[in-house]
Subunit: 122 residues, 4 copies
DNA sequence: GTGGTCTAGACCACT
DNA sequence: GTGGTCTAGACCACA
């Protein structure tokens, strides 16, 4: 229990995991996810931390709450997750990649070549 | 003290940090870096862990030992670090990037366009 | 200190007040608002409650954080507040109004007439 | 006990509640409502506050006192409550609504359209 | 100083 | 049981 990295907020790591589990089909659209207290005990974190995770995912429309019943995966959760990750890739991953390329003096043409190599290797 | 991630060997994380500090100029070429015991106490890790770090960096020619004096940054440390990181970029960062792009269904042409955007934004 | 109603979360009431103060010009676009701890002491609430208020307003793009400096009113804060309130009027106020009208057996035509009356009375 | 708002006199809030309970059938026409002292203890308020509540409702003809027996719901209590609330709707709710519409720059024609929408949605 | 996160424990309303 | 909110107090990174 409680095997989280130190370089990212626990509640965000938990959100990522839940999204992975939704994408993998562990929790399908419309299904109920573990209650706040259940998950808190299971992962060895404070209930408030789980609350923050669920709030964040609610705001993104990936899960929704039903008072007194629990949290449920929304019908379009998968679309929303993929879109959010695509956005993150464009706004975070790519700029960081380009920053590194600049620092390491790697020309952008390299990317196209490496992409071909990689596709072959699969 | 001792704020290391759990997902990577501590001695490798320490090596990364030392490289960062060399690149930043904190320890210039030819300068002495902290002794094994000093660094072990300072970072709250076992002295053997520091030894492994220094051995790894020695093997890469980034630092070198002088009997009875300590470890010193080599003259071409910066080049070696940049080259090592360039290799890491090619062998680790890029494949991971391409894997993500495949998962998110992002075409490779996007990279060239985004690179131009990013260069403009700077 | 601490004069909040019991029928609505304190952090939401605080958010409403802050929006009022932004609309009134007390805090203009680009200006800094009180720090989390300042406001907590001033209003006699817990710092975490202020944090929730500021987080909620951040998510709506009404304020934004600058690490180590504080929270600042965004340039388009006023537009966002007005739009949010208009949306609330349509989605919350009106349905509640109509529900009451149905309960009290008040015909919808009444509204137009009363509107004219009210406009004259001003 | 004693969960009243701060922004409205407690005796008026108690009167509202009693009216709700009459409308809901908890106390039917002709039935006896709790004694002043009973209600005061139950709600944790001063007995004089309950007296003011009952006086106010008596003046509106919603309840009536029978010496030595207690207060009783009048036969036409429900009509009187509905009428009072209709008056409140006209004199308080609507002007406040119109004030908001003016502030938010919402044209009065919107009401008719939204009313149709709402009726459909039920 | 600033904000950001986490824990522990409490009370509430709703089912 | 469920989620929603609040308090008290702690430690962190950033400026």
């Amino acid at each position: 229990m409680n095997d989280f990295r130190q370089d990212k907020a626990i509640y965000l790591q938990m959100a990522d995991r839940l999204c992975d589990e939704i994408l993998s089909g562990k929790y399908g659209p419309g299904e109920r996810i573990p209650s706040v207290r259940e998950l808190a005990v299971y992962l060895g974190v404070n209930a408030n931390t789980v609350v923050r995770t669920y709030e964040a995912l609610s705001l993104q429309g990936i899960i929704q709450t039903r008072r007194g019943l629990g949290y449920f995966v929304t019908e379009d959760a998968i679309d929303r997750i993929v879109n959010a990750r695509r956005r993150h890739f464009m706004d975070e991953t790519l700029p960081e990649l380009f920053r590194q390329m600049q620092l390491l003096d790697i020309p952008p043409e390299t990317l196209a070549g490496k992409w071909e190599e990689w596709k072959q290797g699969r």
